[in-house]
Amino acid sequence: MLTFAVRRLVLAVPTLLFISFVIFMLLQLAPGDPMAQVPLTVPPEVKEKMRQALGVGEPALVQYWKWLVQVFWIEPKVFIDYLTNSSSLLGWLPDTQLYQNELRVISWQTRSPVMDIVIQRIPQTLWVVGMAYVVGILIALPIGIYSAYRQYSVFDQTGTFITMIGFSIPPFFTGPLLIVIFSVQLGWFPSIYDTTHVVNDWASFKYQLSQMILPVMVLALQTTAQISRYMRASMLDNLNQDYVRTARAKGLGEAVVVTVHVLRNSMIPVITVIALNVPAIFGGAIITENVFKVNGIGQLLITALFANDLPMVMTLTFIFAVLIVLFNLIADILYGLLDPRIRYD
């Protein structure tokens, strides 16, 4: 198991390198010019120097190498410095001072390090997306279990129908729909997610809760639909197995049979699906963030794309790729850990 995990981890490195190379080369074809905003009065030789300062004048391979160094060597140094210097978690350690003012990945829009902006944006995305994912899973599992246990009952039929609808309605329709119903006509929840809102007392906490409900509902609908379908199918596979009959035959109660014997076995594929869907949720959140004006990393990617901010786009896309590879790995390892019949050798 450990060797398998290590091998997969080692294999993930060339995969990520290749993906980053593909994205980089794709971005090299971009028609935009970072100097397009500079006034025409600036003489061309100064412009050329500014271009050099942004690292655009170099050949593509050199640029790619520099990007790699910045992301994999300089940014970790900055991060370790931050951890030992100002974080409360590891602040007791001596200040490492690894970062010696080397050039970091700089955004062309703001001329500030890309990673700083990403770190600022990640909490919003994690709050909304993570909460939605947890809520979605918590709703989906009981629905899936019960509708498999009572297959073809009214509950199962309605549940299957509703999950099918949740599966089919895209988030860019459910978002406006919920806004029209709940924030325009009923006036219950705000339609825009206010990220500057600070929670410091009960009233502000209630406001935070009410502004999170709509985006969480939109994202959770998608998650619920997918996970409960998997849960139901997986439960159905297991309910007809011989060991279930044995468990009933030896006199175990229905509750024990379903929640202990069947559920534990059915959770194996469902947990891997849950792990596999995490990056997809981040990707899908791009649309939801756009609808509810959440300034998370999805919205950052869109604005960076429209502003032709290639370092930002490159780094963000790479972060998404890292998430996918990472969660694929986690899913594989979880599968091996949970199911003793699976042996990787």
Binding site: L29, V180, V184
Partner: protein, 326 residues
């Protein structure tokens, strides 16, 4: 002297056939019978045929130009608004109302549906072709297997939506120059959706081909000297048709949603070229006054995708011989 033996002995009574034998049933008749039992799939298939016919034949029946600006009749409400609001600006000549430039909404829905469905079908077919080719090659040619499957894994770990956004913004200009504003965008969106969605098909097809390749009928075909190409074409492809059809329905649904999502985020077709996602995105700013402009294209997308998904469910049940006949 012995009795002359009758030419054929009289058959045993119990074994005699009561009537003429039923003609043998073809596989596709069984599939159709099973498919008909799935109500959702029948509804989905019916709705898909309806919406396809509506968008294909619609412009001949509802002969209003979707692009015609009629600024005097702008912001008309759909006809059913008159049921509860007698002062609303409605008219039978504009049953779905008009938008802020006076363009007829019904004609726009039809026109937008043509684009969305065309993109969906084209992207689905293209991705099936790529996926099936890769799958068959990987399953049939042993040398290519490792390489092609690594490629598939690699594509599976690409972040699809961010990459779609990147690619659309980057290649918009050159393709627009090559194929015109609408044609270029069509080629770009279809191509990009197809390139990023062929992997599941390839994996399923490869798995099935690997299993089928070891069966006796392939050995028989090989022993009478059938060329590999003919084996694939005559013996393998018909046998992997059912998983391909199921993934085709899923592909159609995702392609329609992806195209609408791109249009919604503002990187899709040009602004004067209606698609369902584009109409929805344009209407979001004024959805408080005119919610129907969000509802109508949204419902069109959702119902189409829902019917395609139900169709896929029914097809999966009907094409699976273990479920069929139960």
């Amino acid at each position: 002297m012995t009795e002359p033996v009758p030419a054929s002995p009289t058959p045993i009574e119990a074994l005699a056939d009561k009537g003429p034998l039923e003609p043998p049933r073809s596989q596709w008749k069984d599939v159709w019978d099973q498919f008909r039992k799935h109500k959702g799939a029948m509804f989905g298939g019916g709705f898909l045929v309806f919406i396809t016919l509506a968008v294909v034949l619609g412009p001949w029946i509802w002969q209003v130009d979707a692009q015609k600006l009629d600024i005097r009749n702008k912001d008309m409400r759909p006809i059913w608004t008159a049921l509860w609001d007698s002062t609303a600006k409605v008219g039978w000549n504009r049953p779905f109302g008009t938008d802020q430039l006076g363009r007829d909404q019904l004609a726009q829905i039809i026109q937008g549906g043509r684009t969305s469905m065309a993109v969906g079908w084209a992207a689905m077919i293209l991705s099936l072709i790529i996926g099936t080719t890769v799958g068959v090659l990987a399953g049939f040619v042993r040398k290519a297997d490792g390489l092609l499957m690594r490629l598939t894994d690699l594509f599976l770990s690409l972040p699809i939506l961010p990459l779609l956004l990147v690619a659309v913004t980057l290649f918009r200009q050159p393709l627009r120059e090559a194929f015109g504003p609408e044609g270029g965008m069509f080629v770009l969106i279809v191509g990009i959706i197809a390139i990023t969605s062929w992997m599941p098909t390839a994996r399923i097809v490869r798995g099935d081909i690997l299993a089928l390749k070891e069966r006796e009928f392939i050995l028989a075909a090989r022993s009478i000297g059938t060329t590999p190409f003919r084996i694939v074409q005559r013996h393998l492809l018909p046998n992997v048709l059912s998983p391909i059809m199921v993934s085709a329905t899923l592909g159609l649904a995702t392609a329609i949603i992806t195209e609408s999502a791109l249009s919604f985020l503002g990187v899709g077709f040009p602004s004067d070229f209606p698609t369902w996602g584009k109409m929805l995105a344009d209407a979001v700013q004024r959805m408080q006054q005119f919610p129907e402009r969000v509802y109508l294209p949204g419902i069109a997308i959702s119902l189409t995708v829902l019917s395609v998904n139900y169709l896929g469910d029914g097809l999966r049940d009907a094409l699976d011989p273990r479920i069929r006949g139960r």
